[in-house]
């Protein structure tokens, strides 16, 4: 890719993405034609539309005008690297975290992260979900040795200082979002799963997140339980396990005995 076609494509891409005032002069005979704007507009619109589709809760929180202006800056800084635009926006939460105009909205990047987790859950590999019956009747000692793998679609996150789950789920698909006055301003987490082919979500505590972190790292359930208790000594482990199984958080490919 060093011939004239490659050079044409290098120049064309530069002219597509540069701000109007900053277009390179190499393809002036093309870029001065009114029709060149059709390409510039189509590319930019396609990228921004993709971000808008992939971050619906962020969109609802900031409104379309703010969203599209911020998205345009992100597109210039980080255009898509994958033709599957469903996957576009991996770096959008980090972009929002460092985006000066979003300083007044310190929760925005975390809401974006949950939007991103929803997409990841939606597109993850298929796998059977671990059903409670598989674990029923196991003596506690054996249970403690089990290593459970989170299902490929399972995502979780804890946010220390802000009610991210409430902010996210209210803006994700609720018909009306409320004014936010009734939100208790404290840390919250989220558990996102896909138990029966459709993505679902629930509020999730810090101890549960620590528990799943340990499972994800290949630790047996006894260690995961210790981690959860270290995070919150009051956690009800039986209740936590039941809610994880109910949400379809684990893959049926486990359990594997963690024999020494």
């Amino acid at each position: 890719m060093n011939g004239t076609l490659a050079r044409f494509q290098d120049d064309f891409v530069q002219s597509l993405l540069a701000p109007q005032s900053d277009m390179p002069s190499t393809l002036r005979t093309l870029t001065l034609q009114p029709g060149f704007a059709v390409y510039r507009n189509t590319v930019m619109k396609g990228c921004i539309d993709a971000l808008q589709a992939n971050f619906p809760a962020v969109l609802k929180l900031v409104g379309e005008e703010w969203f599209r202006a911020a998205a345009a800056l992100h597109v210039r800084a980080q255009p898509p690297d994958d033709a599957r635009l469903l996957h576009y926006g991996v770096h959008f939460p980090a972009f929002l975290r460092n985006f000066a105009p979003a300083t007044e909205l310190p929760y925005l990047w975390a809401v974006a992260q949950l939007d991103r987790f929803w997409t990841e859950a939606h597109a993850a590999s298929d796998a059977d979900v671990l059903t409670p019956s598989v674990l029923a009747g196991l003596p506690p000692a054996q249970m403690g040795e089990l290593v459970l793998n989170p299902h490929p679609a399972t995502r979780w996150a804890w946010y220390d200082d802000q009610p991210i789950y409430t902010l996210w789920q209210r803006n994700r698909d609720a018909p009306c979002m409320g004014d936010g006055d009734d939100v208790t301003w404290c840390g919250e987490g989220a558990l996102i799963t896909r138990p029966a082919g459709q993505v679902q979500w629930t509020e999730f505590g810090a101890a549960g997140c620590a528990f799943l972190d340990a499972c994800c790292a290949g630790q047996p359930l006894a260690q995961a339980a210790d981690d959860a208790l270290a995070c919150d000594a009051r956690v009800d482990l039986a209740q936590l396990m039941a809610s994880l199984l109910d949400a379809g958080a684990f893959s049926a490919k486990t359990p594997v005995r963690n024999t020494p």
């Binding site: 004239t4 064309f12 034609q33 060149f36 690297d81 033709a83 993850a124």
Partner: protein, 280 residues
């Protein structure tokens, strides 16, 4: 008819999924962009499986970037090949354009000078794609918005040579012909009359819009409106000349009720059936 079971089809829109699934019109088929279904798993693949169990499905790619001066992305091609194997599409198509370059994806169908070097590169990329998919694909004529210097070939000659070198088929987008002929000042009728009929595998019909500033001076292939009367006339001219061929109605913006799309589809279906009778 080149494919006896299918006549006119519709681009599948998720908001019309249930109606599409239940539709039982003779000759109906649906087309999707494979890029929206190249996921590891989950509900998207399940929906596509559902549709293909009831209707013939065509995969119409927008991102293989065959006119980029580089071989197609191997990972993307492998994913596409897996989808083709799973879905067993009735047709597979792509564009005479580029959209990926040096690790970036630019969601549009971008133009290039039709040089000898471009011809060799694109022929090689089509051959590589057909090898990976194990089947013949159809290549679509794009819409043009700017005049590019340095063409060695006109578009008809270029497409014909690609079919000769690779054995690929062609997808003729009649709206793109109308839009490009208008924007670049040539005869859409002459294009239709000289298009290589033997290679025709599929036809596309769509609506276009006028540039907000330039009006009729710059038409945009926006897929956001009903098919224009001029495009229907070109379509009739094409099938009178080439015979009936699977025809897709595309609508990607301002999506109307399913019934409105069915009405356009019904018109194309009737024209195809009448043409078939005339050809017997």
């Amino acid at each position: 008819m080149r494919y006896p079971d299918i006549t006119a089809g519709l681009g599948l829109k998720l908001q019309h999924f249930d109606a599409a699934l239940e539709n039982a019109d003779t000759g109906m088929w649906f087309e999707v962009h494979p890029e929206n279904y190249l996921v590891d798993g989950g509900p998207r693949r399940a929906l596509l499986e559902c549709i293909r169990a009831r209707h013939p499905v065509s995969l119409h790619g927008v991102s293989l970037s065959l006119a980029a001066d580089v071989a197609p992305d191997q990972a993307h091609l492998a994913r596409l090949a897996a989808l083709v194997e799973q879905i067993e599409p009735v047709l597979v198509s792509e564009h005479l354009a580029w959209s990926a370059w040096r690790g970036m994806y630019l969601p549009d169908l971008l133009p290039f000078p039709r040089t000898q070097a471009a011809l060799s590169r694109i022929a090689s990329n089509i051959a590589c794609t057909q090898d990976a998919l194990g089947r013949r694909i159809a290549i679509e004529n794009p819409s043009h918005y700017i005049a590019i210097a340095g063409h060695d070939w006109d578009e008809i000659g270029f497409l014909t040579e690609l079919t000769r070198r690779t054995g690929c088929g062609l997808l003729l987008d009649v709206n793109n012909v109308y839009v490009s002929a208008n924007n670049q000042g040539y005869s859409a009728e002459a294009y239709i009359d000289t298009f290589p009929a033997d290679a025709l595998m599929e036809i596309h019909l769509a609506g276009h819009s006028l540039d907000p500033q330039l009006g009729k001076g710059l038409l945009i292939d926006s897929h956001d409106a009903p098919i224009a009367p001029e495009v229907w006339r070109l379509y009739e001219r094409l099938i009178a000349r080439c015979g009936p061929c699977p025809t897709l109605i595309e609508r990607d913006e301002q999506i109307p009720a399913f019934a409105d799309l069915l009405a356009e589809r019904g018109k194309a279906h009737a024209l195809l059936c009448n043409t078939e009778l005339a050809c017997v």
